[in-house]
Amino acid sequence: MQTGSEGVYDPTLFLRGVDIESVLSIGFLVLFVIWSIYTLIATYHWFRYGHRSSVAIPALLIHGVVSWLLAGYAASGLIG
């Protein structure tokens, strides 16, 4: 059983040796690459096939804003 310095069970003890900055950097880089590829492909489709629609730009803007808000929320507890 993993226990902290006070002898109390701490299930997150194994995380204490983890370099948070490295984990965050790699995790967010991977996610950002996946997100960027997806967004580029979605944007291409919206502009190619929905370019006449007034929905295209707002939809892509909302996608971008919501994505960054969620990414910000994910990082909020570990950065700053």
Binding site: P11, L31, H45, A59, V66, S67, L70, Y73
Partner: protein, 203 residues
């Protein structure tokens, strides 16, 4: 590459990506209506994403209630709250993945549509990214147009299916599923067909 699948509905003139247009209109042809699936159909397709989004918020309190006998397990589940930065990290990334899926659903919903013109019905189907099908169906070949409304929500909200059948050697059909006001759509198609036949007789 953009895929335009071979279909009995395809006509060579129907698929043209020049000038970012998918099908050029004939002389004297005009677009009467563009139809998409009913908003409720989109809403229903969002439900799995909503369910999966709230799941991480529901499960920990539920498990905590169940696992009160063991203080160690309780301590573990107590960490699954938004006050824990690691849980927030997981939650944010989980929601981000779900958001991408939901946005993808909306993109497909929006790019899938039917265009009714004075000469034909054009079906544009986005099966997935880089997988698109554009097919058209001449109104002069239409033999029968039928509608069906199936289910409580379809009946209450007024959406359903329009099925168009052609005359010819092999009976073929063209379905528009989950569209708003199917009877109105049938009437529109029938009126366009009547107008086409009237023009023919005048000539």
């Amino acid at each position: 590459m953009v895929s335009c699948r071979g279909s009995w509905l395809d006509t060579p003139r129907a698929v043209s990506l020049d000038n970012m247009e998918e099908f050029p209109l004939d002389a004297g042809e005009r677009v009467t209506r563009t139809v998409r699936k009913h908003w409720f159909v989109l809403l229903v397709s969002f439900l799995p994403f909503v369910f999966l989004a709230v799941l991480p918020l529901i499960i920990p309190p539920f498990l905590m209630g169940v696992a009160t006998t063991s203080p160690e397990t309780s301590a573990l589940f107590a960490l699954l709250s938004t006050s824990n930065p690691w849980f927030r990290l997981f939650l944010g990334l989980w929601w981000l993945c779900l958001w991408i899926g939901a946005f993808n659903t909306f993109t497909q919903y929006y790019l899938n549509h039917w265009v009714i013109t004075t000469h034909r019905i054009v079906r544009i189907r986005q099966h997935g990214f880089f997988d698109r099908e554009v097919s058209s169906f001449l109104l002069v070949k239409v033999q029968d147009v039928s509608t069906s409304v199936d289910g409580i929500f379809a009946d209450l909200l007024g959406y359903g299916c329009v099925r168009v059948e052609t005359a010819g050697d092999a009976s073929r059909h063209f379905s528009m599923d989950g569209i708003d006001n199917p009877t109105g759509m049938r009437d529109l198609i029938m009126s366009e067909i009547a107008a086409l036949h009237a023009d023919k007789h005048e000539v």
